[in-house]
């Protein structure tokens, strides 16, 4: 009698008919999660968490911006005194313009990021916002890469011109290998900046893009 009863009770469990049925696993999963969540953290830990700083991408961008602003202050002061020492005065309006431009750009980025930090929008909208923001940062790096490579190219060429033509009075043909070196250095600078941007944001961008494409 007893073995039969056990057999009937066993067969009454619907998840036993199809052990890997998703609907049957739902309740098991919920019970398991509830049990594990209880032992995962207590109120004291949550209170401690509330005082800490976040490690999210947007928060990291915000911290980087603040750091850039902080480093810009001694840089401006240093640049001002350097110009003073070299007896090359810049009109005060130009200084003011540079400072205002730098800080207003940083403030604009910070405010945009602050809006991004509000994560209570639907997932698809949030992904769209994040992708647009990362694209902006990547575009900024691309512009920096182009400017950096142009500066490297002309700086290398100018240095060679000053040494070979002006000081050593050699022929213009001597500039050809220097031109090649400048082109290589400039390409190197471009690819390095491009690689850096890709390393910083590329993989993350691709992951988010993939997720967004899967949703749409």
């Amino acid at each position: 009698m007893l073995p039969n009863l056990i057999f009937i009770l066993k067969n009454m469990n619907p998840s036993d008919h199809n052990p890997l049925d998703l609907d049957g696993l739902k309740s098991l999963w919920n019970v398991e999660m509830q049990t594990e969540a209880e032992s995962f953290s207590d109120n004291q830990q949550i209170l401690t968490i509330m005082q800490q700083k976040t490690t999210s991408t947007v928060a990291r961008f915000q911290r980087n911006l603040l750091l850039e602003c902080l480093t810009a202050v001694p840089l401006f002061i240093g640049a001002y005194f350097l110009f003073e020492a070299l007896n090359k005065q810049l009109p005060p309006l130009v200084w003011l313009g540079i400072v205002i431009l730098t800080f207003s750009y940083h403030i604009y980025l910070y405010v945009t990021l602050k809006k991004q930090a509000e994560a209570s929008v639907p997932l698809a909208v949030f992904l769209e916002m994040q992708l647009a923001e990362i694209r902006k940062f990547m575009k900024m790096y691309e512009i920096i890469a182009i400017l950096f490579s142009i500066i490297v190219f002309f700086a290398t060429l100018f240095q060679a011109y000053a040494i070979l033509i002006l000081r050593l009075k050699l022929g213009v043909l001597m500039l050809v290998p220097q031109f090649c070196i400048a082109a290589l250095a400039s390409a190197g600078a471009f690819f390095f900046t491009h690689w850096l941007a890709n390393k910083l944001y590329g993989q993350h961008y691709a992951t988010l893009q993939e997720c967004y494409a899967a949703l749409k």
Binding site: L20, S120, L123
Partner: protein, 206 residues
């Protein structure tokens, strides 16, 4: 919260110290500053209490997201911390009329999906650690095996699919899923059917 602040304001008005300061013209501003400081502090404490009550009641919701998106226990704790922090920062903007689960799921999923991650460890390795952990707990062995298979299968899905199946497993309605994810209800149905088929195939293969 507002009711408590009004109550506190009334007490402050009746309090001898503050009324004395308030009647003295020179100290009126200081008295106001002290009052604002106390009110803000009380408001923060009240908000903290309300937030903790919500978190305690819905701790499993955050844990489910962490468990679905991270395999390692330390990474799960990191993600848990990030989600709680985001919820806490967004809490002043939470409208009482809105549903807490929808609001919390939105934030939790946004944080979990957009978090930067290092390349993942092999599935087999994770499965092994998980099984070892389960071996120490006195659960029904068949149940644990089925759940382990489910976790391994979910782990093979992409982030968007993980989000959808997580909401499905938590018995959230299609309309609410659509609200959380930001796609249409029909789209939710189509995508969930595809994911379910995919999961069933994986589970049967395992």
């Amino acid at each position: 919260v507002c009711g408590n602040i009004l109550f506190l304001k009334k007490i402050c008005h009746k309090c001898k110290f503050f009324s004395k300061l308030a009647t003295n013209g020179i100290y009126t501003l200081q008295a106001r500053c002290i009052l604002i400081f106390i009110l803000k502090k009380t408001q923060k404490n009240l908000m903290q209490t309300a937030f903790l009550a919500h978190i305690t009641a819905h701790k499993a919701l955050i844990y489910k997201v962490c468990h679905t998106f991270e395999r390692d226990d330390d990474l799960r704790r990191d993600l848990f911390q990030d989600i709680v922090l985001h919820l806490w920062r967004a809490f002043p903007n939470f409208q009482a009329a809105a549903k807490w689960t929808t609001w919390a799921y939105r934030i939790a999923l946004n944080v979990a999906i957009t978090k930067r991650r290092k390349p993942q460890i092999a599935t087999a390795e994770w499965s092994d650690t998980f099984e070892r952990r389960l071996a120490d707990t006195p659960y029904d062995s068949t149940t644990d095996e089925r759940l382990t298979a489910l976790y391994v299968a979910i782990n093979q899905l992409n982030a968007a699919e993980k989000a959808l199946i997580l909401l499905y497993l938590d018995d959230i309605s299609y309309a609410e899923i659509a609200e959380i994810i930001g796609i249409t209800e029909n789209n939710v149905g189509v995508k969930l059917n595809r994911i379910k088929t995919k999961l069933k195939q994986m589970l049967n293969a395992s």
